[in-house]
Amino acid sequence: MANYRLRKGYDIRIEGQAEKILETAPFPAAVGLYASDFYGMAPKALVDGGERVKVGTPLWHDRRRESLVVASPVSGTVTEVRRGARRALEAVIVRTDGKQQAAKSAPPPKRTGPSNRKEIISALCASGLFPLIRQRPFGTVANPLAEPRDIFVTAMDTSPLAPDQELILRGREQEFMRGIEVLAALTTGKVHICTAGGMELDSHTSGLENIEHHQFTGPHPAGNAGVHIHHVAPIKGVDDVVWHCTAQGAILLGRYFITNIPSFEVTVAVAGSAAADRRHVRTLIGAEISSFARPNDSSSPVRYISGNVLTGRNAGADGFLGFSDSLVSLIPEARGKKFLGWLALGFSLESVSASFISRFLPRRRFSIDSNRNGSVRAFVATGIYERLLPMDILPSFLLKSILAGDIEEMEKLGILEVTPEDFALCEYACPSKTDIQRIIRDGIGLMLKETGETE
């Protein structure tokens, strides 16, 4: 057990935290899964519109590693196989029948240990739960053929309006524990469970040897897997593979090994200043967002975000909960022009910078809309990024090396240790309004191409 206190970072003072209440959401009428939630997979659809599917029926698989599948979380009928440019698969939407019949499959192995690692992986792949595990470097869906040096379990979330981790874990301790056991069988190294400071896990984790508990304290992004890996056991090179998954993911893995049936039921927070009934709900991965979240004022435009306000997807009112998301954020869309906005004293403007009066109101929470708050400008080294990234990485120089397409420099400056989400806060604060996450994504894409794993 180790404690890490991080100073760099920032907690955005945004209004609309979900209350610590847990309800069961109405069963969704439709679910949808987006291909873009599975970074690193080259999807090939396995179903057509009109086809009947059951819980665990593969919807698509990876072209290169066909055992890696994305499965239906419900039983029902495929209503749409959505394709984008060059017929690339975008999403599959299934109308539910409410019966939740499970597809026939062999149950997962009873015993989980290093000796039957292969069986565990193939069971996880067949169930469609394997993509809950992600891989570093690059933050892709884990490669089932890789052998991870370590596995990190992120049992904390510092992102804006994050769901309550205790609520996610409450009553699920056994499943979480079983999930850790399953993960422990997948690596010859350690399973690192990273929690917020002060969170006890010892009662759940007794009896397992290769498990370590780390506590991280500090502002966002102290809860990011990338930050944890950086501080506990950093990525050493392109071939130094580490896997990670969330606490919610570990619960789903554990539940599968306890009940023998893949379950896609997750706890999700409904948050944001534009959301009515801000609370936590139990629903299914891919559920229609409208089945459990609604705006508090239907007359003004609202942005429905699956995930947090920094990294989530703009899903729209008829969108679906993302595969790895445990939060839906509803924020007001920006409207109207503000006269002399740059001259405002800023009692109600949220900012990392100390240039508004709001700086002196630390307890205040702000309703933040989707306004970009300024025009796009050239990159100016204001030193703001450096205050927001708790890693031994020089953010502006990494970004510049990516813009220059210099792969060798990128690697030396730390591209292997980061994913776009680690830079999301820098993007939020950037006074030049640069799309920093996209730059990091481009850099990772370049690296993947270079290492032969085209995205």
Binding site: A334, K337, W342, A354, R372, G374, S375, L394, C430
Partner: protein, 386 residues
Amino acid sequence: MKTRGRIRSMFEKGGSLERLWPLLDAAETFLFRLPARTSGGAHIRDAYDLKRMMMIVVLALFPCMAFGTYNVGYQFYASAGIAAGHLDCLIKGLWVVVPLYAVTFAVGGFWEAFFALVRGEEINEGFFVTGTLIPLVMPPTIPLWQLALAVSFGVVLGKELFGGTGMNVFNPALVSRAFLFFAYPKSISGAGVWVLKGDRMVDAVSGATPLHLGIEPVGDIVPYLSSNGFDFWRMFSGLEPGSIGETSVIAILMGAALLLVTRVASWRIMLSVFAGGAAMALLCNAFAPSPASMLALPAHYHFVMGGFAFGAVFMATDPVSAAGTNAGKFIYGFLIGVLAVLVRTLNPAYPEGMMLAILFMNLFSPLIDYMVVRLNMRRRRLRAAG
């Protein structure tokens, strides 16, 4: 609202005034915070932007601007031996400073708009800070046509040729000043330009700056300065000849406080410029041949003389031309302080070393960053190996 929409459409693509779009855009974003929505990436963005940042710098310059204006008038009446009221001083100062600003912004604004139109880009607010700074680093007697040339040189060669705001290597305001310094040295150096003089002159008043007097002190330097009216507290308060904005350390400190509280300027740079200046001054003191030498000038005198404090607070901290790494900022600032004192004490041809020190370190800041980046890479490599 409707009229605005109609005017807008004339400037949009296909409209008759399409090429002038940047002008409308500049006017609009200046007056309004546009409701441009985020798309892709982060859904919310900080209320802070570059425009806000530049506004803070301009606000921080207000005390210097106000005091400088007053001081121009004060020096004028003092040189004429007239006991004038505060209001008279201020009015006389405005009479000088307002035209300087008018010329600066007219010329600079023209070039900004010109380059934006040619490039089809938005006019950005980059000139706001540069334009506010330039008159403050000029002597009050600068001819307006020379000022216009200097502004053109600073904006075009100092910034736009490098690609515009954010791309420049040197601080454009200092490039303007350096241009005058080398092209029209008589207008910006020597003893005669720092006080606006009328027809009447009191004989005893030389108009020389304390730095100029320091070149050839008669007797020990500190008593010599104060016998000429330049004791520490007078120079601290700023009622002395000099460039318009640089004289009052009190006004500069007010600006510095705003820049530091809002974290717009780097405390690392500011602190290390003074640290570097102090270290070099102490070293010079140790090697001073006699107390009657400029080398014997104590560090705190360096800070209140000439443009040292102004440069440290407003010029060295320009994020575009300074070092970008946190460690690099310490080195960058420290060397500016060292060089400024070095030039002042050892080179009688240039009594003011601050401008040259900052420009010189602007040139070296990429190299400093390069070294810091290499060290970071090395540390990361060793960590991965270990």
